[in-house]
């Protein structure tokens, strides 16, 4: 602290506290949320970015190199050398994109509304501060001084000035800054007027230097200005409403993890290694390194849950291998069941799943090529603020170039090549794990959920090549059971609830007897077994190179852990001892992959089991409903077909009906549980309810 800066009659006192003693905590530095330099609202920023990117790409000779790779793929001469070249080219493109972003954009605070004039006055103030420091003989970077001068809008850059002159200039710059801060809204309005003109020029395709602009320009400009002002006003209103009704926590990101205190052991506290059942005291871990280590353990356990299921480990898993591309797997796809010795060791439900896989059904045969139109359509739908990309290639980079055909073509082809070549680039293998508290404020280790942030282009490529075509294929071919209401186009969550309510209502009206079990599949997206998913994808007509690329990505994935303290150096991935399963929450193909497993489950339900049966009064409409699902939240139910016996008392009839219902429901629910288990899933018994 500079004591000379303290002016006044008061005597300053200084107290130096040891933070770790005062707060009983080392007061670790919270990482600032990374701001994006590239924002797309201003078309001038887009233009600057595109131009800078073109410069960088041409300087690194990227387009010819990229065309060579495309040629190698189309001519069928792709080799391992080309994969290496692809990775090198991808690195060059990343560097070019990040550099272009730096050149194009800006970062500013939101305390005052941003405008170029306010920015200049801040730079002028900083410039004169540095000049004063220099005049006092303190070391100052000349480059920084020159940069500040260039951005401050000052007219002269005098080399020799007395301290008093510099102090005068500093005072006037402070006064100017205060005045501009006071009038920041007016300055912002002026800036918006200029911006609206630029937007109008961009949309009409007129050059800014044109001396005779079209009369339409004024209309367009006024419209753009009105829209900009309205949006700014609404954004500010929404922010105020959000702060009022849902006050955000002071720190974004996980800054502590609570774990069971294993030093305090009492018989009634339970097992400290099982936090769900722990009744004893908890301790808070605040050290970033320890938090990351604990999260790594939790996440490995989470992603490894499907390991002890039939397709995850054991004889069947060995036969089909993790990538689902063994000879037995191919034979299965061709309609031949596995070896009898293996089949005999499996659960009957697992055998039913295998039988389902051998049956033939409509295929979707399309090459894994992302066209320019696909790329534009996908990125037009993605919101700019969507979090993604550990490499820094956020969504804004892709949205900024949507009007540039050559860059669109480059990105679309670079996204297609790994799926055509059957490999996964190292950049795509990096995934950032964000841990969210299921209940805000509760950071107990078992109450955290993982959100995986993938590379944006990889995630969107999966949407274009897998999620969208498979979902539509399943719908068009009527492969999905009517039980499922989640992740399906045209279906609503409330429809599933309405169906349950209607079932209850019919039971009420007809005074019939029924039993239901509400159940929830545990972390369904993190328990999708790789080989089974890949087998079904291939069965549905996804190309083998795409399946190979996806399998390679799942095997070589590297998870980075991000907390409030930033991204940790501690990473984890799939290993033979603890293989990781599932695409993770945040993957665009997760819902579709769950959907295809769900299809396999419902297709394998034993038709001989009793289900809920509703008959209309006229006896002409009979509806059989084994259950109702919304993604992983399911309900299975049965109705009683037993007629009351006149020879028995009411109580005896009731007991008999109840026994009969429970027996049928147990059979159906157990069958459901085993089918789910066979595909890698599990029922959350603690949350299941019988009705």
């Amino acid at each position: 602290m500079n004591i000379l800066t303290l002016h006044g009659d008061h005597r300053p006192y200084f107290m130096d506290f040891d933070a770790s003693l005062l707060f009983a905590d080392p007061m670790l530095k919270i990482a600032r949320p990374s701001g994006r330099i590239l924002r797309l609202r201003d078309p001038r920023v887009r233009r600057r970015y595109t131009s800078a990117l073109h410069d960088q790409l041409s300087a690194h000779n990227v387009l010819p190199r990229f065309q060579d790779l495309s040629l190698a793929m189309s001519s069928g001469t792709w080799s391992f050398t080309h994969t290496i070249q692809y990775e090198s080219l991808d690195n060059t493109i990343i560097q070019s994109m990040l550099l272009a972003e730096k050149k194009a954009g800006r970062i500013y605070t939101s305390t005052y509304s941003w405008s170029p004039i306010l920015k200049q006055s801040v730079q002028a103030y900083r410039y004169w501060q540095l000049r004063l420091k220099q005049a006092c003989g303190l070391p100052v970077s000349i480059t920084a001084l020159n940069n500040l001068f260039q951005t401050s809008g000052l007219s002269t850059h005098p080399t020799q000035l007395s301290i008093s002159t510099i102090q005068d200039n500093l005072r006037s710059s402070i006064a100017m800054l205060r005045s501009h801060q006071k009038h920041h809204k007016e300055l912002r309005k002026t800036f918006l007027e200029e911006l609206s003109k630029a937007i109008a020029l961009g949309s009409l395709g007129i050059d800014a230097t044109d001396p005779h602009p079209t009369p339409l320009l004024a209309t367009c400009s006024a419209k753009a200005l009105k829209s900009l002002i309205h949006r700014e006003h609404m954004r500010s209103a929404y922010r105020r409403i959000g702060y009022l009704l849902n006050p955000p926590s002071s720190i974004s990101g996980l800054h502590k993890v609570d774990i069971p205190d294993s030093l305090v052991l009492q018989p009634h506290y339970g097992d400290p290694t099982d936090p769900k059942t722990w009744r004893g005291p908890w301790i808070s871990i605040t050290s970033p390194c320890t938090i990351a280590t604990i999260i790594r353990g939790i996440n490995i356990k989470q992603y490894n849950q499907a390991h002890h299921t039939p397709f995850g480990s054991g004889s069947l898993a060995t036969l089909l291998v993790r990538q689902g591309d063994s000879q037995s797997a191919e034979a299965l796809l061709a309609g031949q069941l596995s070896q009898a010795s293996v089949l005999s060791t499996l659960l009957p439900e697992t055998q039913r799943i295998l039988t389902t896989l051998t049956t033939s059904f409509p295929r979707l045969d399309q090459p894994p090529i992302i066209s320019d139109a696909d790329f534009i359509a996908t990125y037009n739908r993605v919101h700019e603020n969507t979090s993604s990309s550990p490499s820094g290639r956020h969504v804004g980079h892709y949205k900024a170039i949507l009007k540039d055909p050559s860059l669109v073509s480059m990105h679309a082809t670079m996204m297609s090549l790994p799926f055509l070549g059957g490999f996964a680039p190292p950049r795509w293998n990096k995934v950032t794990d964000i841990m969210l508290e299921k209940e805000p404020g509760n950071s107990r280790c078992h109450r955290l959920s993982i959100i995986a942030l993938f590379e944006s282009d990889f995630n969107q490529a999966k949407r274009v090549l897998i999620a969208r075509p498979i979902t539509h294929h399943l719908e068009d071919s009527s492969l999905l059971n009517e039980m499922q209401y989640g992740s399906r186009p045209g279906k609503q969550c409330t429809s599933a609830v309405l169906k349950k309510v209607l079932c209850h209502d019919i039971i009420h009206q007809s005074k019939s007897s029924a039993a239901f079990m509400e159940n929830d599949a545990v972390v369904c997206y993190d328990r999708l077994v790789n080989n089974l998913v890949l087998l079904i994808l291939c069965k549905l007509g996804i190309s083998s190179s795409t399946a190979k690329s996806i399998a390679s990505n799942w095997d070589n994935v590297i998870h980075l852990i991000k907390t409030a303290y930033g991204t940790s150096d501690i990473t984890y991935g799939s290993s033979p001892l603890a293989p990781l399963f599932g695409p993770g929450q945040g993957s665009t193909d997760g819902p579709t992959l769950w959907q295809i497993l769900y299809w396999a489950i419902t297709k394998s339900i034993d038709p001989n089991l009793s289900v809920a049966r509703f008959i209309s009064v006229c006896q002409s409409i009979v509806t059989e409903i084994p259950g109702i699902s919304f993604v992983d939240d399911s309900n299975v139910g049965v109705t009683s077909t037993l007629l009351p016996s006149p020879g028995l008392s009411d109580q005896d009839n009731l007991s008999l009906t109840t026994r009969h219902l429970v027996q049928d429901l147990t059979a159906l629910a157990q069958h459901w549980e085993r089918l789910l288990f066979s595909t890698g899933g599990a029922i959350n018994i603690q949350k299941a309810t019988g009705i």
Partner: protein, 177 residues
């Protein structure tokens, strides 16, 4: 859900009246676990909607009333402008209150009870008397009203929308309807 008959009138049997255990094994574990049962009058939450096998609407109505009261306690002491208060009601509270309406069958009185605290906070913010007639508050703009959503009307509208949607799809739900 089984029935007991008394003097020709049926009522849903409670767990005590129809005792039974639903036991399931999980995975390769052969130890059966008992699934807890709920009484027909007891509500349970499914996909964000509280329903009860007995068809009771009370639990859901109580929860919605709580949301409305929370909105009242947040909005009343705030310094939001009339426009912001209006948007907070329309964009924050209304979707929350309207979500379960497609599956509920609240009476008009229940709907008014749910909406009352929210309106008591909103109307003063809009510089209106809190006792202003509902005809004005819920009336359409063409008749000089404010066109604020009325839960009772929206309940019917949502149900009709669901009915027509499923009628066009001609799925299982329509067969149940």
């Amino acid at each position: 859900m089984t029935w007991t008959w008394k003097k020709g009138r049926a009522s849903l049997a409670t767990i005590d009246q129809s005792p039974a255990h639903l036991c399931l094994t999980t995975g390769y574990d052969t130890t059966p676990a008992t699934i807890p049962r709920i009484n027909p009058s007891q509500p349970f939450c499914t996909l964000g909607v509280h329903i009860s096998p007995s068809g009771s609407q009370k639990p859901q109505a109580t929860l919605l009333r709580k949301s409305s009261e929370k909105f009242y306690s947040s909005l009343s002491p705030s310094s939001l402008s009339p426009e912001e208060a209006y948007w907070s009601y329309m964009l924050y509270l209304c979707p929350k209150l309207m979500y379960p309406l497609g599956c509920s069958s609240f009476t008009q009185k229940q709907c008014r009870t749910i909406q009352a605290p929210a309106l008591a906070a909103l109307l003063p913010k809009l510089h209106l008397n809190r006792h202003i007639p509902h005809a004005f508050v819920f009336g359409p703009l063409s008749y000089g009203g404010m066109a604020l959503p009325d839960l009772y009307v929206d309940q019917s509208y949502t149900q009709l929308r669901l009915f027509y949607g499923h009628l066009k799809l001609h799925d299982e739900l329509v067969q149940l309807l």
